[in-house]
Symmetry: C2
Subunit: 95 residues, 2 copies
Amino acid sequence: MTNVEILGFVSAFLTTFSFLPQAIQVIKTRETASLSLAMYSIFTIGVASWMVYGFVQQDKAVIVANMITLLLSATILSIKIYNEFIVSKRNQYQV
Amino acid sequence: MTNVEILGFVSAFLTTFSFLPQAIQVIKTRETASLSLAMYSIFTIGVASWMVYGFVQQDKAVIVANMITLLLSATILSIKIYNEFIVSKRNQYQV
């Protein structure tokens, strides 16, 4: 492995797994008020699009990194959507 | 431009600019409680590392995409650090 390959590998590892502490925090606290719904919607679509790109290019590193990121960002997005549309609607009907 | 190049371009555009609504929300509301400090610390280092990778590989697309993402994520991280360490410390001393 060359130094440049190591740099690429470390970069991919950091940007991919950075979403792990955010996912854990959201799962534990169920708190998503300061997370942007637009960000996680656009980001999740973008990561899925990168994964398709990886499949087309048959680039295993791109596929695996984006598969992990997709799992984490889709988890965060799901809880955000749940809080935004289901929990807030439920509270609206409670008097 | 081939279809695969367009797919890569669209993916890069989405994952890069997804951080714009989050940065705008944080700047406007100053609210960062549900943002993970660990995530934005690791992510910002990772994006900086990708930018260095782009410079080494002389890949303009990688440099530009990560430069924009770095600007946005560093902005979010700065406000998170400010809230976490300066605002919360200030409140601690106010009785």
